[in-house]
Symmetry: C2
Subunit: 415 residues, 2 copies
């Protein structure tokens, strides 16, 4: 493959994670080393930054600060949720992208994100091919939801899972100190796939986790839930329930919508159960059992807790970015970097490439055979899958007792 000389641009897209900046460090540091890459640009707010010619010259950054990106949560360059129209319907954005690519001689495009971002990446790749503009396009996977197709797992998941497992264990201990028990409902992110909620099963595996775990992969039956939770409360005095924000009933209706419905009808539950899904469920259980209840949402905390990162995850996130650059320089294009778990007793993941066409917009859910028959927990197969992903400790350097995160200069690129 002939050497392709030109600039590269990198963008972050979709919901941030605590390791998306580790992938940024991987891409940027590797790209800065490559002779054929003349400029390394970082797009402000992903694809929008390119459309608006708003991107940074990464060579202007202090190498120490770039290194700190490995332990800095959130999207240092800014993220975006922007869906490109299909090129055959509306070519406007694509023409503009091509214009910018030509102006800056951008020959490498790296895009870091989840399903929607891989769709963007795929569309850009196909358009550049169609118009015959030589540009190597590589997707770098990222999502705490762990729902990208074609990869064993996604960078971002391991750290979020470690946070969920650890915090669930801590809450478990806190929740049973009094002589009178209580019911706790934990709400965990994951609209369509239950991977992150499933991570609470690691706490249960360690003897300090939820009694009941509900994923969106299985229809949620409110009556059965109330029955199960009430029985456990009667038996043990303490109950912890973990629910994915995206659980739905058998008609496909989100349980999170039940709260406002209950309020509208002003029924026996009164108005108290309003708020998020966890509050709704906690208050229903309070009504039914008389128990003291508490609803806890891990909220943004679960995706930005860099102070409790999985070292395995951080290293893999970096590697994914680094390998995207190396493969592109070698001549590969139109792929997403993915992980393939090697056989054998020791955890080992190899990098492979998957076609962007295949990965764009395809969701990978928790396999039903890893969910217990009654839909209230995970099997050992899931634990075996998940445990290696949360191993090792990553945390930012601490300064004055709090994390020292990367501070970028963000020098705008000019032409």
């Amino acid at each position: 493959m002939a050497e392709l000389k030109g600039a590269c641009i990198f963008g972050q897209s979709g919901g941030p994670t605590s390791v998306i900046n580790a992938s940024a460090a991987g891409v940027i540091q590797e790209a800065l080393k490559q002779d054929c890459i003349t400029h390394v640009y970082g797009a402000a707010h992903g694809i929008r930054g390119i459309l608006e010619e708003n991107f940074y010259d990464m060579s202007k950054e202090d190498p120490y600060e770039l290194d700190l990106l490995k332990t800095t949560p959130s999207s240092a360059l800014g993220s975006v949720r922007y869906k490109l129209k299909n090129a055959d319907e509306d070519e406007t954005d694509y023409k503009r992208l091509l214009e910018v690519f030509k102006k800056y001689n951008i020959r490498y495009f790296f895009y870091n994100g989840g399903n929607d971002s891989m769709d963007t990446c795929n569309k850009v790749s196909k358009y550049m091919q169609k118009v015959g503009y030589e540009c190597r396009v590589m997707g770098v996977p990222k999502t705490i939801d762990n729902d990208l197709w074609g990869t064993d797992h996604c960078p971002g998941y391991g750290s979020a899972a470690k946070y969920v497992a650890t915090s669930t264990m801590e809450v478990y201990h806190d929740a049973r100190v009094y002589d009178k028990g209580m019911i706790i409902v934990l709400e965990i992110m994951g609209r369509n796939a239950g991977w992150l909620t499933a991570a609470s099963a690691i706490a249960a595996y360690k003897g300090a986790g939820p009694d009941l775990i509900y994923l969106p992969e299985v229809p949620f039956d409110m009556d059965k839930f109330i029955e199960d939770a009430s029985a456990l409360y009667k038996k043990n005095g303490n109950v912890i329930v973990a629910v994915s924000e995206g659980i739905k009933d058998k008609n496909g209706k989100y349980i999170s919508e039940y709260g406002s419905d209950l309020a509208k009808t002003k029924d026996a539950f009164g108005h108290a159960q309003l708020g998020g899904l966890a509050s709704t469920l906690a208050n229903i259980l309070k009504e039914k059992t008389g128990a003291k209840v508490r609803a806890i949402e891990f909220s943004l905390l679960q995706r930005c807790a860099a102070h409790l990162g999985s070292l395995t995850d951080v290293n893999e996130a970096y590697l994914a970015g680094q390998m995207a650059v190396r493969y592109a320089v070698e001549g590969k294009t139109d792929y997403m970097v993915a992980f393939e778990r090697a056989e054998g007793p020791e955890y080992k993941c190899n990098i492979k490439l998957v076609n962007l066409t295949d990965v764009a917009n395809t969701e990978k859910k928790v396999p039903l055979e890893w969910i217990k028959k009654d839909g209230t927990g995970l099997t050992e197969d899931f634990i075996k899958y998940a445990l290696p992903l949360i191993q090792g400790e990553s945390r930012p350097p601490m300064e004055d007792g709090v994390p020292r995160f990367a501070k970028l200069k963000k020098v705008l690129a000019t032409k």
Copy 2:
């Protein structure tokens, strides 16, 4: 002072913290070393465990597990919220305590907790004095609220403050990734004293914290709040607000009660703002500004996050327990162990003793001169006070990627 030979009993009381077990380790390990202490008992659920003759023989525990208590959150022995009546009104509980003390020859009583627990400790101390039963009574301070009188600060506060500061910084970074901004309202524990909410000012001091911080020490003015937050949103596009759960209006009414009032009147705000205080405020701001909003409650997480402990705090919690035993053995009684900050540029705290009578039920609030004039933040004096308390990293040993917490055998004491 003549040597006093006999058993000791230790109890944990009130809301747990991530370091209350470090004080337990201090008391238990020190007591096990003392020749004059014949037995070391740990009360199940504090004073109730003594009343019910339900306590454990701590000498039966594995020393390694006792050591793990230093990094195990929550109350390993179980806590309690039980208020002793005044002895001159109802002597029942006291007679029972005396009976148990005599039966087991308990001559040392160590009680670990906050305001209410020091009240219990004080009452027990005074009763034993009155009836002439020789028993040395020492209080060991603990509370994330940091509101105990007579001590520079309380064990438990530093770790909770470190969690609040760190998590606030992480949320700050997560909250500003998109090109469209948002308003975040963080709700932090502290019903009457704003110490823990004030810890979010450390994040602001580090350039990644709340724009507005509201403590219960200052009456909360809803109109001014809406005005200030709206102006900041208009100016910056991103706003973070930190509120103490206990903020009240000028009539002393909790702002957390506004939510259900609004729902009852079914006014313009509709029902959406229900839930906790943070949701109420977030939804009011959404209504007024049209901003995307998110309410985050640190909930139990802020008091059980042993994975992010302050080493200074853990060491001091241990020391408080250890010194309580040493002082009691030396003949001291009727005191609470307290911290006194030494003068000088380097942080150093000495142990002192304060009378239980003085400390029982007295609350220490954030000094008004440490709160900014307009009531929306903290001064540098607070930062200077708080920073030393969050220094150093304490975390449990990790096993399989998650914390390994202490597992006690809890062998019941028998007579």
